[in-house]
């Protein structure tokens, strides 16, 4: 198979049966929306439970003799404190280039009981770059194992926990902490379940064998509160949740401080450095970044799309929109973008140049829609 052939996830046939509108995304033929449509799918996820096929994402294991060795290696690529990541816990982080720019953002999970294994979930569009960089920097004794035969299904929304608990009695999935993970048997299938997601809602990401994924997804969809959700609503949900999307808010020119994800760099790493671009990032932490990611709320109903120029109240260019659209739960247009730091305070009046006209907008706090993560 050639590298540019379009790939299919294990749920491809199911998407077709469900009437999905498919389109290429990061090399995969993916469901953009189902017949219900983006608005209904978005709102369903906020009030019930949405099933997302995220099998296009890269799943991998980094293995070594012990946790300290594996963590020390990953800390040469990522600015998170991985050494002190407890078994059964996960962390959001980034792979950085030598200038501190974001090569990719990812989830790192230390499985329960693991001493010398970390699970990674990386963006589909960055798999090749990530794996090449990891392989290039890996010391002797550390291995990268791509989980090519694994599917990944997200179940997100306020009824996700009750739904999964019914299908996995005795596994305690409904009382799992946010950002924890463990193996569990769900609907008769051995899976690796984390309490996490990218919608701002409570929910889970469920990794399982590719050949079990179709049946598992059908079992979930047979539950009363579960509906399939496409990438269209996945994008509007993460935008309302104020979450970065690689290729939009994040790329190799943006550092984590500018992207307003410096919360993911724990104190020990800030002090010690030792990750790529530490000089730039420590300076940005101390002095403040030149530009910073902010939320934007246009005043009218017109959405401001990616690439829209942002100007100050007196018309000077101050930044650009990186994601923008209509927020179905907000009921109004929402956007994120980067602006010069002097204009980044919440409430600052700015202009958005849409089709040659300046739309009034203001800098808004993120998220646009309150997060509903499980807090016990």
């Amino acid at each position: 198979m050639s590298d540019d052939a379009i790939q299919k996830t294990p749920l491809h046939a199911l998407h077709g049966e469900l009437g999905a509108r498919m389109a290429p995304f990061a090399g995969y033929d993916m469901p953009i929306q189902y017949p219900a449509g983006v608005l209904a799918e978005h709102l369903h996820t906020r009030k019930a439970a949405g099933l997302f096929d995220v099998s296009h994402m890269g799943q991998a294991l980094i293995e070594g003799p012990d946790h300290a060795t594996v963590a020390a290696f990953l800390e040469t690529l990522c600015p998170a404190d991985i050494l002190n990541l407890a078994a059964g816990r996960q962390r959001y982080s980034q792979i950085l280039n030598d200038e501190g720019g974001v090569v990719d953002d990812l989830m790192l999970t230390r499985p329960p009981g693991a001493d010398g294994a970390l699970r990674l979930v990386v963006n589909a569009s960055r798999k090749g770059v990530d794996y090449a960089l990891i392989a290039q920097r890996m010391p002797a004794g550390v291995r990268l194992a791509r989980l090519e035969d694994a599917a990944l299904i997200a179940l997100q929304g306020p009824l996700a926990a009750a739904t999964l608990a019914r299908l996995a009695p005795g596994e305690g999935l409904d009382t799992m902490a946010f950002m924890s993970a463990k193996p569990a048997r769900v609907a008769g299938v051995d899976a690796f379940v984390s309490r996490s997601g990218y919608t701002g809602e409570d929910g889970y990401e469920i990794s399982l064998a590719a050949d079990q994924a179709d049946g598992f997804a059908r079992t979930l969809l047979a539950e009363p509160d579960v509906a399939p959700i496409g990438l269209g609503a996945r994008d509007s949900l993460r935008l309302e949740a104020g979450l970065c999307l690689y290729g939009h808010e994040l790329d190799e020119t943006v550092d984590p401080v500018e992207a307003a994800i410096a919360w993911s760099i724990q104190k020990r790493r800030r002090l010690e450095g030792g990750f790529p671009g530490a000089g730039r990032i420590q300076r940005a932490l101390a002095e403040g970044p030149r530009r910073v990611r902010v939320g934007l709320r246009p005043e009218g109903r017109a959405p401001a799309r990616e690439g829209t120029e942002i100007v100050s109240a007196d018309g000077a260019p101050i930044g650009v929109v990186t994601s923008g659209g209509f927020g179905p739960s907000v009921g109004a247009p929402v956007a994120m973008g980067f602006v010069d730091r002097a204009h980044a305070a919440v409430g600052t009046q700015v202009g958005l140049i849409v089709r040659g006209k300046t739309l009034a907008a203001r800098v808004a706090s993120l998220p646009f829609h309150p997060n509903a993560y499980y807090r016990g």
Binding site: Q33, V38, L39, A40, G232, R305, F326
Partner: protein, 125 residues
């Protein structure tokens, strides 16, 4: 009876005497998905056939609506600003965008009728 014509960009114009009512086709609204914003041209604007005249936006993307014929904008649909979803519910009826004075009837004759448009849509599938 009013005659309806379509463009290759999926606009329709319903001809009523020397005037036309413009909107997007049923096929176009289905392809676009949930419309969350629509902006019609200002009343009085002189449009040239094929130039961007209005904008219809779904959750994900903005789409230009091109003037099917040349002419002056006579009226815009007052409902679409606050209820853009009517474009999905009734694209050919309540979801109209603007009314235009048809400057050159020959431009109407160059557009597709319903049968030709249906064949055009089928050929693109």
């Amino acid at each position: 009876m009013a005659e309806i014509r379509y463009t290759k960009d999926h606009e329709y114009i319903r001809v009523e005497g020397g005037e036309g009512v413009v909107g997007i086709s049923e096929h176009a609204q289905q392809q676009l998905g949930d419309v969350v914003f629509a902006e019609a041209p200002p009343v009085g604007k002189a449009l040239k056939a094929g130039e961007p005249a209005a904008v219809v936006e779904s959750v994900k993307a903005a789409s230009d609506v091109f003037a099917p014929v040349s002419g002056e904008v006579l009226a815009v649909n007052p409902e679409i600003e606050n209820a853009p979803g009517i474009i999905n519910e009734d694209a050919l009826g309540r979801g109209w965008l603007f009314r235009i004075r048809i400057a050159d009837p020959a431009e109407i004759a160059s557009l597709m009728d319903e049968v030709a448009y249906a064949a055009f849509v089928a050929s693109q599938a």
